[in-house]
Amino acid sequence: MSILLFELLVIIVTLGILTYMKTSGHKDVMKKFGIMFIAVLLFQIMSEPMWINQNLSSWAYLYGNVSWLLAFGWISIFFLSFLIVDSGFKKISEKGKFWLYLIVATILTVPAEILILKLGIRSYADVLSQTFSGLTIPGTLVPIEVLLAVPLISALIIPFYKYILNHWN
């Protein structure tokens, strides 16, 4: 039951963010969503062997271990980061905003990772867990390495999204 609630929550949050973007004057919202979906999917395909996404409903998977629902979760995190940084730091250059995107995305990802670990949706493959130090973020089950992995992932996904968005007419 809690898994189904999680799945519905992710869909509602994603739709909510997209609706907010559309009603608040953001252009090409579905194009942005599509490009970000591809960016997240590329990263999910690449890192597929590193973790196990389990216990989701069968309809939440694209293939094997790769879930479109978790891709929606990532998209929500990135779009929320853009909304927060772009509205709160309007005068900062794109270069400056980039670092803020990484920070905000990391802050948003940690509670999400705690939730999916607690629900038993996320676990880490042996190839990955063997590289962990064994330290966790205090008070959580989240490996400390997540604090480094999220900015690394974001530092590749955000440029892909921005680059393709700027040039895809």
Binding site: D126, V127, L156, P159, Y163, W168
Partner: protein, 176 residues
């Protein structure tokens, strides 16, 4: 040792050549190397870089020699596309670069595996065998990984190039 020196010489030659064509080359090279390194660090659990000299490693089996190798491939491919097809759209250039890079990477991976430099954990080998091989040689899964990897890294380079206004589309002695 021969492999490491070869990569250093290729990198030096490529940088000197590109720098003579475009003054932004070394900066674009640096950005690309950072993108490659980010990805190598993040995906280090997925492969082994082994049998290199000790000085060739940065951290565990993350090797700066391998970073140079992939950076050379990416930058050379971008240069080839910019030189051959300067007037096509940016998105087409992007996909053409990915195409050229993928061919290079698959050939280089073939060599690396056979020289014992590249190895994979069993879980990755099993994944590679979970899909058919193209022409009976290239695992389809590897092809998908290479395209995903390179798409993110090439976009990283192009994004920061634009942010720092590092034009890399005009070359001395280029086509008029």
């Amino acid at each position: 040792m021969i492999f490491e020196i070869l990569i250093l010489l290729i990198t030096l030659a490529l940088l000197l050549f590109l720098q003579s064509k475009n003054k932004n080359s070394w900066k674009v090279f640096l950005i690309t190397a950072i993108g490659v390194l980010l990805f190598e660090y993040y995906t280090q659990a997925l492969w082994f870089n082994q049998n290199l000299e000790r000085w060739a490693y940065l951290y565990l089996d993350v090797s700066w020699i391998m970073t140079l190798l992939w950076t050379d491939v990416i930058l050379f491919s971008i240069f080839v596309v910019e030189r051959m097809k300067p007037k096509v759209s940016e998105v087409k250039k992007f996909f053409m670069s990915i195409g050229i890079i993928t061919i290079f990477v698959l050939a280089i991976e073939w060599v690396l595996i056979r020289t014992g430099i590249r190895g994979y954990p069993k879980v990755i080998l099993d994944l590679y065998e979970s899909l058919p091989r193209l022409f009976g040689i290239v695992p389809l899964k590897e092809l998908i990984y290479v395209i995903a990897f390179m798409s993110l890294v090439v976009a990283f380079t192009r994004y920061w190039q634009a942010n720092y206004n590092l034009k890399f589309d005009k070359f001395n002695g280029g086509r008029k």
